[in-house]
């Protein structure tokens, strides 16, 4: 009886697995916009400003403002780094009182509650990284209505719910960087798998969708094998990556790590399986976590923008918005030591090209 049930379940699983094996699992269903294979920048159509505006904000020009930063979650390396950037910028500016607070897990409801509380407590500015672009919109709009300046970074909301969004790198840009790196390491016909956080995490889902589109366009013979979920959990990521290695054997030439947790864990799995050099790990990660693998040569390159810079830029942008120096329609903004940053897509500010860490430069970073 028991065994029959089990067998039936497994059978069911098999069938559903095959049925769904057509596309890449883990991507979202929004429109993709793959870049050209040779890297020619896409002709960016100038878009009008599509961000929102605070209702009757007080004149904050040059005055001391309180700013709260509510990232997706607190307690992970990545948002520690952005938080550090924000604190750095605040210290440099001198007239900002900034702090970071947020939920302990990437939970839309809790994030909304945090934002709501800070709106009530009367902050002047909000920095956020959205767990869900739509879910967060109502509370951000409420902040705008209260005259609070709202700037996003890392993970966007719907544009009208915030003023500006500091985009660390465009989705298609990241996708191209990742897929190109992988192709360079494993060749045009290699098989690879993806370890992501969850299928519902917007950025990851977006990247995977863009990667799929770009790979189809520019590296059509590369073979996507599988996408697995691993939360933001080190050990689970490690286990999942190890299982992938065991399952596909030589068929698996590379693993994409889609989060700053999954990438080092995948590298660890490759290391512990003694497959360094046989299986490439390409992914998004922070340099500190990757140093051991990069220095040992197990991982050649890690793609990431500098999250400290991202936080720094977000804080600078918020200050400019509060001061009124950044107005809708601007094409660039001054961001302290980062210099002039470009405005794209109407109301987004581009941090720059993604940074590629390798054996030579990784030692210089500490975050």
């Amino acid at each position: 009886m028991k065994k029959l049930t089990l067998a039936a379940l497994l059978g069911l699983g098999l069938v559903s697995g095959q049925a769904l094996a057509a596309g890449w699992t883990g991507g979202d269903d929004q429109q993709t916009n793959p870049l050209a294979c040779d890297g020619t920048p896409a002709a960016a159509a100038a878009m009008p400003y599509d961000g929102g505006a605070p209702t009757n904000p007080p004149d904050r020009k040059g005055k001391k403002i309180t700013v709260v930063d509510v990232p997706k979650l607190i307690g992970i390396g990545y948002f520690n780094a952005t938080s550090k950037g924000i604190a750095d910028a605040a210290a440099e500016l001198g007239n900002v009182d900034a702090k970071t607070d947020g939920p302990t897990k990437a939970n839309i409801d809790e994030q909304i509650t945090f934002l709501d509380n800070y709106i009530t407590s009367g902050v002047d500015g909000i920095l956020f990284a959205a767990n869900d672009p739509v879910a967060i919109a109502p509370v951000l709009k409420k902040a705008l209505e209260k005259g609070i300046n709202v700037v996003g970074y890392d993970a966007n909301s719907t544009p009208d719910a915030r003023q500006w969004f500091v985009n660390q790198a465009q989705f298609n840009g990241i996708a191209k960087a990742l897929v190109d790196s992988m192709a360079a390491e494993i060749g045009e016909e290699g098989g690879f798998a993806i370890v992501t956080s969850t299928f519902t995490t917007p950025n990851q889902a977006r990247w995977i969708a863009e990667m799929s589109a770009y790979a189809e366009k520019c590296h059509p013979k590369m073979k996507w094998l599988e996408t697995v979920e691993a939360q933001e959990d080190n050990n689970l990521s490690f286990n999942q990556a190890t299982t992938l290695i065991n399952k596909y054997g030589d068929e698996l030439k590379g693993i994409f790590g889609m989060t700053s947790v999954a990438t080092p864990a995948s590298a660890e799995a490759v290391t512990q399986a003694n497959k360094c050099g046989n299986i490439a790990v390409v992914g998004l990660a922070t340099p500190n976590a990757m140093k051991p693998y990069v220095e040992k040569g197990c991982v050649k390159s890690v793609v990431l923008w500098n999250p400290v810079d991202l936080g720094y830029a977000a804080m600078q942008v918020l200050r400019s918005v509060a001061d009124g120096t950044l107005q809708p329609g601007a094409t660039s903004v001054k961001a302290g030591k980062l210099g002039e940053l470009q405005v794209i897509n109407g109301s987004e500010i581009l941090l720059g090209a993604p940074y590629v860490f390798n054996k030579d430069n990784i030692g210089q970073f500490d975050f």
Binding site: M1, K2, K3, T5, L6, A7, L9, L10, L12, G13, L14, S16, G17, Q18, A19, L20, A21, T25, G26, I74, G75, I76, G77, F79, N80, T104, K105, F199, E226, T227, V228, E229, Q231, E232, D233, N234, N235, F238, N239, Q240, T242, T243, L244, I245, N246, K247, Y248, G249, V261, P264, A265, E268, Q272, A273, N288, A289, K291, P292, Y293
Partner: protein, 326 residues
């Protein structure tokens, strides 16, 4: 009313005793064998020594934590804070190791800390009679919040190689597997052959009767929690040393996994019954299922649903078996 079942001749054979004592464990064990056979037939790589190694090693820390959890549940209690505690232990261990303390201190101090914390929880449960689920629910909040306050989630890296005990591979087998096996055997032995071990069942089965039999139930409860602290401590060390990086956060849903392992392994949530072998087998079964689903190309979207169905099937099979036994 149980006439037919119980007219057994006095003193049954050792084999009969074995069977009657390990009903659910056998179900779980057979499930593992079944998975190995079926999945192995479909994809022989499932049975490669590396994959078997990773199945056993991957969930070893869960199995170790489930040993302690099983004892807690046998004694009629529960601990929903074990996941948070393991996170805290891993962080303490990693911090000590990175700051140059000898590795044995980095291993031992967190375990002692874990035992002390849980003994405190046990004392609160035993002497104030607050239900353990309430105390540990509170502890979950305290440990989780406290950990984040203390570390701000900074990752711990660059730990010395000799600290990474879970990565050592004596005779080609991950050391976590040795821990899992040794502690399971040791705990079974302890439960079977010591007064304290037997009194866990007694306290879980009937607290007042235990008192009348000369057992001090409060002391047993504190002891069981402290023991659970020991296993959680070892689990935390294995967890911390499995990878080069310690996240210093609370591993998500770990407490549910650990409790599920104990329960699927045959520990009755009502207390008084169960074995630790069952929970270890269940932890291995989970690793098996997780691995098998990937090997069978079960769409990752449906993975959790299949897992839930499997838990349900196991539970219902157990219920049917118990009903038949009656």
């Amino acid at each position: 009313m149980s006439a037919s079942a119980s007219i057994a001749p006095p003193g049954r054979s050792a084999f009969q005793r074995f069977l009657s004592g390990y009903g659910q464990e056998i179900v779980v064990f057979l499930s593992i064998i079944f998975l190995f056979v079926v999945v192995g037939a479909i994809n022989p790589r499932f049975l490669s020594d590396t994959n078997i190694n990773s199945i056993f090693a991957g969930n070893a820390y869960i199995a170790v934590a489930a040993i302690g959890m099983s004892m807690i549940i046998m004694a009629g209690h529960i601990d929903v804070s074990v996941g948070a505690l393991i996170g805290v232990i891993a962080t303490i261990a990693g911090t000590l190791a990175v700051n140059g303390y000898p590795v044995w201190i980095a291993w031992l101090v967190p375990i002692i800390f874990s035992m002390a914390v849980n003994a405190g929880v046990g004392a609160l449960v035993a002497y104030t009679r607050i239900p353990s689920i309430v105390v540990t629910l509170g502890m979950l909040s305290i440990l989780k919040g406290g950990l984040i306050s203390a570390t701000a989630g900074a990752w711990i890296t660059n730990m010395p190689a000799e600290f990474m005990i879970a990565q050592m591979r004596p005779f080609g087998i991950p050391s976590a597997v040795y821990f899992m096996v040794a502690l399971t055997i040791l705990a079974s032995f302890f439960i079977k052959y010591t007064d304290f071990g037997r009194s866990i069942y007694a306290v879980g089965g009937n607290m007042e009767a235990a008192r009348a039999a000369g057992i001090n139930p409060e002391r047993v409860v504190v002891g069981v929690f402290a023991l659970h602290g020991f296993f959680a401590g070892v689990a935390g060390i294995l967890f911390a040393t499995q990878l080069q990086v310690i996240q210093s956060t609370v591993p998500p849903n770990l407490e549910l996994t650990v409790i599920t392992a104990s329960v699927i392994g045959g520990v009755s949530i009502l207390g008084g019954t169960g074995t630790v072998i069952g929970s270890t087998l269940a932890a291995i079964l989970f690793a098996c299922i997780g691995s098998a689903l990937i090997f069978l190309n079960v769409s990752a979207y449906w993975l959790r649903a299949v897992l839930g169905l499997m838990i349900l099937a196991t539970v219902l099979a157990d219920m049917a078996r118990r009903r038949r036994a009656k």
